[in-house]
Symmetry: C2
Subunit: 219 residues, 2 copies
DNA sequence: ACCTGAACACCGTTCAAGT
DNA sequence: ACCTGAACACCGTTCAAGT
């Protein structure tokens, strides 16, 4: 009759739809890793169809990671002074990492070569140039800030992935140690537990920009 | 006759033998991940026997990671001045990470709670205390240095795991980008490729100790 | 007390077959 | 041209059975 049978029709896939599904999956609370198979069922397609559009899962993960870098970059006020641009980029990256932990955990271990990454690198190099650094110092400060931001993103992603409710603490559990062998830990352990991860990482960013300011001043 | 049949006898396992096998496996060129099953065959035992001694693979990986932290720590000259102790600890950690990439890749994503980790934390806190920092600054500098070292270790491990021959470059491939959109990358790309990863990370360590010196001086 | 081995519930990926 | 589905070669982990 007029009722069309609910026949399983072929699904049309494309990279954008796959990326969108990947982001949605990664944002689901409790999801700490993306699997090609789960992505397939989310898309209503055979899991292996994804290999029509991405060479490998790593390739897909790179695309997803570049997406969150591009998203972070897009939220930076390009008219702000150099240190503020760096601050915003780092801060936005941490926020995006917390939103998509299953993607951000890869950030230390993957390199995207995509527009998001290139744009972020360009921003950082340019900011340190504007700060007035020498060529060598530009490169070194960039590298330090980049590795700091990426490891921060991965760390925050880990924390959010394994304890979706918990929130914010830099350490998963307080450090308990024999005060005789580890007097400093005994003394500062509580203080370490109080550290909020984002605050801590942003303090690191400040230390790096501060170092750049100093290096520029002594030229 | 006198020739005993090569009967498969039960194997005696213990945590130390498992750890030793894990280290050996991780040190094999081209091995980028440890698998319980491969560990089992290395030990001549059923893979699942490992679960008699470690609650889970994560538990085992934590023990292995703590082992490399303890090894790095043991190579630090405890009599050296504070900044030299920090330098040595960071440098040894990078060396051990390069030796056992399949273990070190976990460093950003795992926390061991073992003596290696505790000892390293104690050393860092104590060094920054000796530097003359305030309580807050001790904690912040420690956290920055720790995350820098661990992400450095993971990064180096990644590089060594995926390109066992290559060596040393911070970036896996030169950054190629349209000079119109990415003028800074076009200008500094070559210089970035020249960076040796260990040098770069050690420069980061210097920047952190330098920041500590400055903070102490202005008290 | 501790190792074995079958079994479970997963993975990423290839490739011939369909349409 | 692109999706399907069987198949391959793996995973980590549980648990009853052996000794």
């Amino acid at each position: 009759m007029a009722v069309k049978a609910a026949v399983r029709t072929k699904v049309r896939l494309d990279p954008d739809r796959i990326i969108a599904a990947g982001l949605e999956l990664a944002a689901r609370p409790g999801v700490s890793a993306i699997s090609v198979r789960e992505l397939g069922t989310m898309l209503g397609a055979d899991p292996t169809a994804i290999y029509r559009h991405f060479r490998s899962k790593d390739d897909l993960m790179r695309a997803l990671l570049d997406h969150i870098l591009a998203g972070s970059l897009a939220e930076v006020d390009a008219g702000a002074p150099w240190d503020e641009r760096l601050r915003q980029l780092a801060e936005r990256t941490l926020v995006w990492a917390a939103r998509y932990p299953a993607i951000a955990v890869e950030s230390v271990v993957l390199t995207t070569h995509g527009p998001g990454e290139l744009g972020a690198v360009e921003l950082m190099l340019d900011a340190f140039r504007e700060a007035g650094l020498s060529d060598d110092e530009i490169v070194r400060h960039y590298a330090l800030l980049a590795s700091h931001s990426l490891s921060g993103a991965a760390g925050i992603a880990r924390a959010r992935a394994e304890a979706p409710g918990e929130e914010d603490a830099w350490l998963d559990e307080p450090l308990i140690a024999d005060p005789r062998r580890y007097p400093m830990i005994a003394r500062y352990g509580a203080r370490l537990s109080e550290l909020r991860d984002v605050d801590l990482l942003m303090r690191g960013v400040e230390m790096i920009t501060e170092s750049a300011r100093r290096a520029a001043a002594s030229r």
